[in-house]
């Protein structure tokens, strides 16, 4: 996997970097895809037995019941492409925060649990609602632009460079204030900025 990373396209981020050091750009290229099924729930992302521990610990158990190698092999800048209803279940935002901690640049799926959707943006995780996410395969490398609302395969799973020739898959428009939130690294840094500029 590492070999493919260096022989393929290096992660070239065109967007700004977030305060937390995470890749919080709204447009970037060359992300390696982890393909997951439908109905990935918050218990799978942040298992209950580990909920009493900090997010760094929870992250090590992220998806262990469905993809045991995920937390070990995931790399900063990777993306998850999943089936419908990603993030259904609990309000625990550690489900999203664990993915941020592991360096996931975005989750792309036909639909998301509503609570997870809010939580993701609040902790600085980009979500792209893409009806045709099924067209993206495990191990591919993709580009996306959240502001313009598209995602595209750059290198297919066989290592073939498609560059701009692959069709761009349309994503639902995300309100600007949520995109700004992800770029800021989440709601907390935004609140900090706001409190600093408003005298109490």
């Amino acid at each position: 996997m590492d070999k493919r990373r260096t022989s393929g396209t290096a992660l070239l981020h065109r967007g700004r970097r977030g305060r937390a050091g995470a890749d919080t750009s709204t447009a970037s290229i060359g992300h390696r895809v982890w393909r997951l099924g439908s109905d990935v729930d918050t218990d799978a992302l942040a298992p209950g037995a580990w909920m009493k521990y900090p997010v760094e610990v929870i992250a090590q158990h992220c998806l262990e019941s469905t993809r045991p190698q995920f937390a070990l092999e995931v790399r900063r800048g990777d993306v998850i492409v999943a089936g419908p209803n990603f993030g259904i279940g609990s309000s625990r935002e550690q489900a999203a925060a664990a993915l941020v901690h592991l360096g996931i640049a975005a989750v792309i799926a036909p639909s998301f649990g509503g609570l997870f959707f809010r939580n993701a943006f609040n902790v600085g995780l980009m979500l792209l609602t893409c009806r045709d996410a099924d067209a993206i395969a495990d191990g591919e490398r993709i580009d996306f632009d959240a502001r313009s609302g598209w995602v595209r395969c750059r290198i297919d799973a066989a290592g073939r460079e498609l560059a701009v020739h692959a069709p761009a898959l349309a994503c639902e428009q995300i309100p600007d204030f949520l995109l700004d939130m992800v770029e800021a690294g989440g709601l907390l840094p935004q609140l900090k900025g706001r409190l600093r500029t408003t005298p109490s």
Partner: protein
């Protein structure tokens, strides 16, 4: 609370009216983003102080209005280990430091305790740090779950954004048969529309079968709107709501303004309550719902009546109706964790707890316990039937545990027979609707 002035000529949904009031606007339109003033912010020991305290300190900010904050310590009590003790201690210390006026420590589960203490009234706009927060919709309040970071934002600003939802009307005509409950209604709807069928819009439960439900049963509908993927699960308040809330100590209860106008926009689904059979959801999703008499009589080792969804007073009464005078099957452990101390004491007074214990039930503390999946683990390969809301793989420990969801009637009947059982087979023939 102020009557909403309908500045729009168009008929409005209850959800629209609630958001319009909270955002201080004459009317709102589905799809638009509205910033709302929060009337009540509820959180518990897991999503609350342990996460909020450091972030609040980091911000150097104060709570906007402590009187609008309710803390319930229900997830990590009774403390089972050092980590739980640490989390609960943070909650207690922080509550003291902040001098929070509304704290319920080891009194039961937040979604039941908070309305039982009169904190929720029709017309309010509320947030909760837990996914089952839509329970507040049973009282005609707009209430939904949020994560800890967003709760922090509410604590500091007193505001939150929502996208004004469409409304999905779930209209239930007819009357439920004896032994069939709100839980069965929910499982059937989740089975039909899936766990994201609500698409994070507003669901409104209505029709004569809903009006006929007790407040406890209505709470079960709204509670499991979470499993339907809705943001809120609303029920227009009525006289039943008013008298229940009055008993709970709430005052200034206004029910009249809080209903959807006739011909309000939305999607409409119709159901007949009188033909609904007891439902059961197979592992590992609430959406795997079937009529209970359609599945094999699977042996069960554990029957669990618990959680905000399935251990309120009416749920305990249902279990007792099945079990009174009988002993459960020797191969089954029946665990009962009443949802709140209030319900526990009421069940005690009614003789329900005694009847359940005589039938072989073990009583557990009134807390989230096994349902939260935070530690209370079941043995490998065991089969569990339970009145809780979720049966995700691994929710009760080992991934090999098979969790079936059903009503308290069905859980009790299955404990009695040692296998999954249609409660209508074991409920007394002589018992009729009138004795409920």
């Amino acid at each position: 609370m102020g009557c909403p002035v309908n500045a729009s000529d168009r008929p409005q949904t209850l959800a629209q009216k609630l958001i319009a009031r909270a955002s201080g606007r004459p009317a709102v339109v589905p799809g638009e983003i509205a910033t709302c003033r929060v009337d009540l912010a509820m959180f518990h020991d897991s999503s609350g102080p342990r996460r909020l305290k450091p972030m609040l300190a980091d911000l150097g900010a104060a709570i906007w209005d402590k009187d609008k904050v309710v803390l319930v310590i229900d997830h990590y009590v009774p403390e089972a280990d050092d980590e739980s003790r640490r989390i609960v201690r943070i909650a207690r210390d922080w509550a003291r430091e902040q001098a929070l006026p509304h704290v319920y420590d080891s009194q039961g589960i937040c979604h039941v305790v908070v309305p039982q203490h009169g904190h929720i009234r029709p017309g309010m706009f509320c947030v909760g740090g837990d996914s089952h927060s839509p329970t507040g919709g049973a009282f005609g309040a707009y209430m939904f779950g949020i994560g800890a970071t967003e709760m922090l934002s509410v604590l500091v600003t007193g505001e939150i954004w929502v996208r004004v939802p469409q409304t999905i009307f779930m209209r239930w005509s007819g009357r439920l048969a004896y032994g069939v409950t709100a839980k069965d209604m929910m499982l059937s709807m989740i089975g039909r529309y899936g766990m994201n069928g609500g698409q994070y819009q507003a669901v409104e439960f209505c029709g004569e079968a809903v009006s006929a439900l007790s407040m406890n049963e209505r709470m079960t509908l709204s509670n499991m709107s979470a499993e339907l993927g809705a943001q809120v699960g609303l029920i227009a308040p009525d006289d039943e709501t008013r008298s229940w809330l009055w008993q709970a100590g709430a005052r200034e209860i206004e029910v009249e303004p809080w209903h959807s106008d006739e011909d309000a926009p939305g999607v409409r689904h119709n159901f007949d309550a009188s033909t609904l059979a007891p439902q059961i959801s197979l592992p590992h999703s609430p959406a795997h719902a079937r009529d209970v008499d359609d599945i094999e009589p699977t042996p069960v080792q554990i029957a669990y009546i618990g959680a905000c969804t399935g251990a309120k007073l009416d749920d305990l009464r249902a279990a007792a109706r099945v079990l009174a005078g009988y002993r459960i099957d020797k191969r089954v452990r029946l665990l009962v964790a009443p949802a709140s101390l209030h319900d526990r004491e009421a069940a005690e007074r009614e003789g329900i707890l005694r009847r359940l214990q005589e039938a072989g039930a073990e009583l557990l503390p009134s807390a989230c316990g096994i349902c939260a999946g935070y530690g209370g683990t079941m043995p490998e390969d065991s089969t569990v039937i339970t009145s809780i809301a979720r049966n995700f793989r691994g929710r009760m420990g080992p991934a090999s545990v098979q969790i079936f969801l059903a009503s308290p009637y069905t859980v009790a009947a299955s404990a009695l027979r040692g296998r999954i059982t249609d409660p209508r087979e074991v409920l007394w023939d002589g018992e009729t609707e009138s004795t409920r």
